[in-house]
Amino acid sequence: MRITMAAAGLAGLLVLTACGSGAEPAATGPATLRMTIWTGNAEHLSLLNSIADEYKKTHQDVAAIKFDTLPIENYTTTLTTQIAGGNAPDLAWILENSAPDFVGSGALAPLDNLVQPEQLAPATTKLWQQEGKLYAYPFSTSPFGVFVNLDLLKQAGQKPPKAGWTWEQAVAAAAAVNKESGKAGLVVRDFDYKGWDNLATVWGGWGAEAWSEDGKTCGFAKPEMVEAMTFLHKAIFTDKALPAPGTTADFFAGEAGMTITQISRASLLKDATFKWDLIPLPTGPKGAYSVIGQAGIGVIKKSPNAAKAADFLSFLSNPDNSAKLGQYFPPPRTQLLTAESLGKSNPLLKPEQLQQVVIDGISTGRVKPSHAGQAELAQTVRAQLDQLWQPGADVTKTLAGVCTAIQPMLAK
């Protein structure tokens, strides 16, 4: 075939461009640092740029710091493509679901010159550590809470729920809203029967987890998970407290009684036409719990400017700049986690809401499930769980099937 001949003829060119590895030599002279981020928001960018300008004043060895926005829905994919293509950034924002991949693979350089690292709340750094070293600065830690549409609940004859409420009460109230108004009761936002990791906000109440702490053993078939999922299945298909698969309802458009989501979504309530409240997640049989979503900033190890990048990151994350970033992203530093300082940046939330959901949430929160090879695990679990989301499904059997499918990947 001509094609094979053509391919063979190009062998020389292949070798030139093919080699995947090999760190570039350390650069000399003033460096240009590049940091990939997923926000294109003008206020964020101007804050980041002002911090960068201030840094450059005292650091002649850094000529410029560039912030590259990649679209959030393919952020990790685009970042990996750039790395694969030999154009890795010096610093990168990292989403929580790819944290174990980045931390565990050795792609990031350890951060051992952060300013006052002892101030970082332990719950916020857990995901980003390996063998006692921190590999990314968790600049954004956003807890999950329950937003409640007080008007819809009142209409259904339900009292406004308060912190310390239980899952039974939550489902009863949600079912009542659905029965009374025909609208959705409780929506686990971004779950939509695909993004199952958001269900950690439910099964946490039963003490269940997707996999063990060390990531080696599947947790889906454990009794507490079966119990939690049986409860959830009944809430969906019997009590009709949650919208069934294939139906959407947007809480922020006033179509659901309650929604479980990250507090940062409060901004969508800026011109809400209904009365609302934000309260902590309901308690389950195992008591109170909280769940957080996170994002970190890491230094790419193979960058020729890794040392300079790490130095800039310690400047970016020092207490002063942490406070500035805290205007937009809930910070990990304990002294900034007060209702007063958070209130300035979250004018829509009351001090009590901030204390109960944000501050208590961050200090006790568990991060959503994540694991090395998260994308593949997530996809496999999603495909298996599809059998669960129909009336009359065999919960125990389906969950056992999930474990059969993912145990080999976890054991790797």
Binding site: R2, I3, A6, L16, T17, R34, W38, T39, G40, N41, A42, E43, H44, K66, D68, T69, L70, P71, I72, E73, N74, T78, T81, Q82, A84, G85, G86, N87, S142, T248, A249, D250, F252, A253, G254, E255, S264, R265, S267, L268, D271, A272, Y328
Partner: protein
């Protein structure tokens, strides 16, 4: 008369799945963000506002990005026409050794999805120092897989022209290049129209390549710019995105309305034979 009414009825019903999403896009861009995902979607914005359109230009160098998309698509269209009409003419009307085999080899590129070659192409352009420039977005479509479709269309069109053309040209003493330039190309106007529409739209809608190759907002193209409208927490600002999407779609639609008659009828008169 009854037959006509029936035909209109059928056409109107068939229109629904085509028109509704466009309608939703345009009307949603006029709604406040909290109303967009109301279910069932409302057909008319309750409180129409142009705020989103103002923000489109405020939050991104949108005019610059519009220009980028426009000039890249124009250059790609002209370049593709040059490359594909030459190749199409040769494959259809010049007898040279191995032409069929070569055509078949080129045809393979038609069916290669861009996901397959994006990583090696990225390495190639990166080693040439051409990432974060418009070169990859121009060179790949003109010379790579996307232009194969254009060559294919041109070849099919030139095959349909009568053989006598070449003889007449030879009698007039025209060389190969002159025959192509003075006779072939003017006759090919409808095929050129078809290729231009395909090529322009392909470049205009290109998504994967820009997000992989470009990193400076001033150099972004439109489909990439659409993803940049996010709020303070990284959530998409849907009304602004949809406003930008509407601004992206409408001009192309207008060009189609103006150009379609000539394009369809031109193709019809001369035909596209295989």
């Amino acid at each position: 008369m009854r037959r006509k009414t029936l035909l209109y009825g059928v056409l109107c019903v068939l229109c629904v799945p085509f028109v509704f999403p466009t309608w939703w896009m345009v009307t949603s861009s006029l709604k406040p963000v909290s109303d967009i995902f109301a279910f069932p979607p409302s057909l008319l914005p309750g409180r129409p506002q142009l705020e989103a359109y103002r923000q489109v230009f405020e939050l991104q160098p949108f005019a610059q990005q519009y220009w980028n998309s426009l000039y890249i698509a124009a250059v790609v269209t002209v370049g593709t026409l040059a490359v594909s009409s030459l190749a199409g003419w040769a494959f259809a009307r010049i007898r040279f050794r191995g032409s069929n085999a070569l055509f078949l080899v080129i045809l393979v590129g038609l069916l290669i999805p861009s996901e397959v070659t994006i990583v090696p192409l990225f390495r190639l352009f990166h080693s040439a120092g051409l990432t974060d420039t418009h070169w990859p977005l121009i060179l790949i479509p003109i010379l790579g897989a996307p232009s194969v479709l254009a060559t294919f269309i041109m070849r099919q069109f030139f095959l349909a022209l009568p053989k006598e053309l070449d003889e007449a040209a030879a009698v007039d003493g025209l060389g190969r290049l002159a025959t192509f330039w003075r006779i072939g190309l003017p006759l090919a106007r409808p095929a050129v129209g078809a290729v231009a529409i395909f090529t322009f739209l392909h470049s205009w809608n290109l998504y994967l390549e820009p997000i992989v190759f470009l990193s400076t907002p001033e150099r972004f193209t439109l489909p990439q710019a659409l993803t940049q409208f996010v709020d303070a927490y990284g959530g998409p600002m849907w009304n602004v995105q949809l406003a930008a999407a509407s601004l992206t779609a409408l001009p192309v639609l207008v060009v189609f309305v103006v150009a379609q008659k000539q394009f369809v009828e031109g193709l019809a008169h001369t035909g596209l034979k295989g």
